[in-house]
């Protein structure tokens, strides 16, 4: 901006110079005016809510009557931490997250190594693997409920066809959480794979040429070049997959409602139930703050390690 003014001031006619100077003065406030609308929206629906949820978490309140709020201090947190159901919810969330992230990233890494080819057939396979990612979780959930139907579902029909006993899927406390993991992994693998492939393709070819000259084995090349060069991608996926696993809601709400016997109840669903169904706003807020803390920690960690890469390349 400034450069434009300076570069042309030497031989520009006087009138134009004046215009440029006036524009220059306006320039001081102009960028703030341009950022303002977005900033207002972010404030109203992002920054203020973040502060507000912390505030709400030290009151006893309910959505039924927002006028009556009673200060209770740490009580909501104490209640949460001594509540066996909430322990179960935390445990479920952790198990679900670890399983989904490990399986989702592991499988997609292998798929990416395999599907990183420029062939017509492979392009079709890439698109197929990716397709669940853009489909609504509502459809995905209802579809998998039908596939996992214990009596008439396709999955049990296939199991029977290859001579295995029928599985209980969503109907049993031992298998329900794993079934939800399966659905989430199925949905996310395609996205991860495509991100990995993009990462693989950005590795400079001469590294591989050098490795080939050194007669490095495939395994050595993978360990010494591919994996280190992919580590930013891997790290990005670890963080984003973990954050989105913490948020799991749609599949629970549609497929299990947290059951059977709380075995698939996880953080966001718990917050939703406490806040919207049981009208226990305080407890729901405290649980939200805990979730916010977890996500915030991951975000800070993410920015801290990515700082050099993200800013103004």
């Amino acid at each position: 901006m400034q450069k434009a003014v300076v570069a042309n001031s030497a031989n520009a006619p006087l009138l134009q110079q004046e215009v440029a100077v006036k524009a220059g003065r306006l320039t001081k406030v102009r960028p703030y005016l341009y950022v303002l609308p977005a900033l207002l929206f972010f404030s109203a629906f992002f920054f203020i809510p973040i502060l507000y949820i912390i505030y709400l978490s030290v009151f006893d309140w309910s959505l039924l009557n927002l006028e009556e709020m009673e200060w209770v201090g740490w009580q909501n947190y104490a209640d949460l931490l001594s509540d066996a159901d909430f322990h179960q919810v935390l445990l479920n969330t952790m198990l679900f997250t670890v399983a989904t992230v490990v399986l989702g990233i592991g499988l997609s890494f292998l798929l990416a190594l395999w599907l990183n080819q420029k062939r017509k057939l492979v392009a079709v396979v890439q698109a197929s693997v990716f397709s669940p990612h853009i489909i609504s979780l509502v459809s995905v959930s209802m579809l998998w409920m039908w596939l996992m139907d214990p009596q008439y579902g396709l999955l049990n029909a296939l199991l029977e066809f290859i001579g295995l006993p029928a599985y209980t899927w969503l109907a049993d406390t031992k298998s329900a959480l794993l079934s939800l993991v399966l659905v989430s992994v199925w949905k996310v693998v395609g996205y991860n794979t495509i991100v990995f492939i993009a990462g693989l393709q950005s590795i400079p070819k001469d590294l591989y040429e050098a490795a080939a000259l050194d007669r490095s084995t495939r395994w050595q090349t993978l360990r010494r070049i591919t994996i280190p060069m992919l580590s930013p991608t891997l790290f990005f996926l670890l963080i984003t997959n973990t954050i989105s696993s913490f948020q799991v809601f749609d599949t629970i709400s549609i497929m299990t409602q947290g059951g059977p016997v709380n075995s698939t109840n996880m953080l966001v669903y718990y917050i939703y139930e406490q806040g919207m169904d049981y009208y226990n706003g305080g407890l729901a807020s405290a649980a939200s703050v805990i979730l916010l803390g977890l996500v915030g920690l991951l975000t800070v960690f993410h920015f801290w390690t990515m700082r050099k890469r993200v800013h103004y390349r």
Binding site: K28, P37, A38, M142, L143, Y152, D250, S288
Partner: protein, 275 residues
């Protein structure tokens, strides 16, 4: 001999590739096939592959079991409304971040990046309380306004605006075009591919979204399609999987159609966040 093992290996790989593709595509095919079966055929074990008689009536049953036209209109209004407001806020912000030096720029841009990381599920409660103070719960506004600013949109557009050559802007300034005009008439047209990318991303996200409309709405007039479709599941008298799958197709087909025609754009849009 060597030649033939290589050919064999290639064929085996092709078969495996198709098998992998089927793991991800076959469930959709099963949705499609189920949507055309009769109830007795749905509850038959082991299941049949193709429907014995193709039953188009399931779609009528699904469509007439609720105000689905209303749901579809709401879904489109929300997805388009969100996109319009997001562009109106993102274009000036991105232009400022890309083309101006000003105090606090890095700080403000950092704030936008944080917004990219924290999902709405974490803070839906306080937003609900805010919106209910404003009297906006159970209106389409409650579905549109909270998404009015998109950090991802700002991020993408900023990147695109930074790549516009200085000469183009200088030339426009010499024609004494206003900054506002340069932004919308010069920069935006040059960022067209990115706008398409972002538009697809935003539309798909909001068309598919279930969580937000579930929380913010409680009557049919303002419900969107994903919430409406889950109502099919609650219908009395056993799960009518054929009708449910027929309803599901309403939600899935538009997206699959868009994906079919703009596959590369869409994959790029979703992958872009990783960079």
């Amino acid at each position: 001999m060597h030649q033939s093992t290589r050919v064999a290996a290639r064929w085996i790989e092709a078969v495996l590739l198709v098998a992998v593709a089927l793991v991800f595509v076959f469930p959709f095919l099963w949705m499609f096939l189920t949507a055309f079966k009769t109830m007795p055929e749905v509850y038959q074990f082991p299941p049949t592959w193709l429907p014995e008689t193709w039953q188009f009536a399931n779609f009528e049953t699904a469509w007439s079991s609720g105000p689905f036209l209303r749901y579809v209109i709401n879904s489109v209004l929300v997805a388009i409304g969100v996109l319009i407001i997001q562009l109106l806020t993102a274009v000036p912000a991105a232009y400022a971040f890309a083309r101006y030096r000003f105090r606090g720029r890095n700080f403000l841009f950092g704030l936008a990046l944080i917004a990219l990381m924290i999902p709405p599920q974490v803070i839906f409660l306080p937003i609900y309380v805010e919106l209910s103070h404003m009297g906006l719960i159970n209106t389409l506004w409650s579905l549109v306004l909270p998404y009015g600013a998109s950090a991802f949109g700002i991020f993408l557009l900023r990147q695109a605006f930074m790549q516009v050559p200085d000469e183009v802007i200088e030339a426009a300034r010499l024609d004494s075009a206003s900054e506002w005009k340069i932004m919308w008439r010069v920069m935006v047209p040059m960022a067209k591919p990115v706008l398409v990318t972002f538009g697809l991303f935003s539309f798909i996200y909001h068309w598919n979204d279930y969580f937000w409309p579930l929380i913010m709405t409680n009557s049919d007039e303002v419900r969107t399609l994903p919430v409406g479709i889950t109502m099919l599941k609650a219908a009395e008298g056993g799960k009518q999987w054929n009708v449910i799958m027929a309803g599901n197709m309403m939600l899935v087909l538009p997206i699959l159609a868009i994906f079919f025609f703009a596959q590369r754009h869409i994959m790029k849009a979703f992958v872009y966040q990783s960079k």
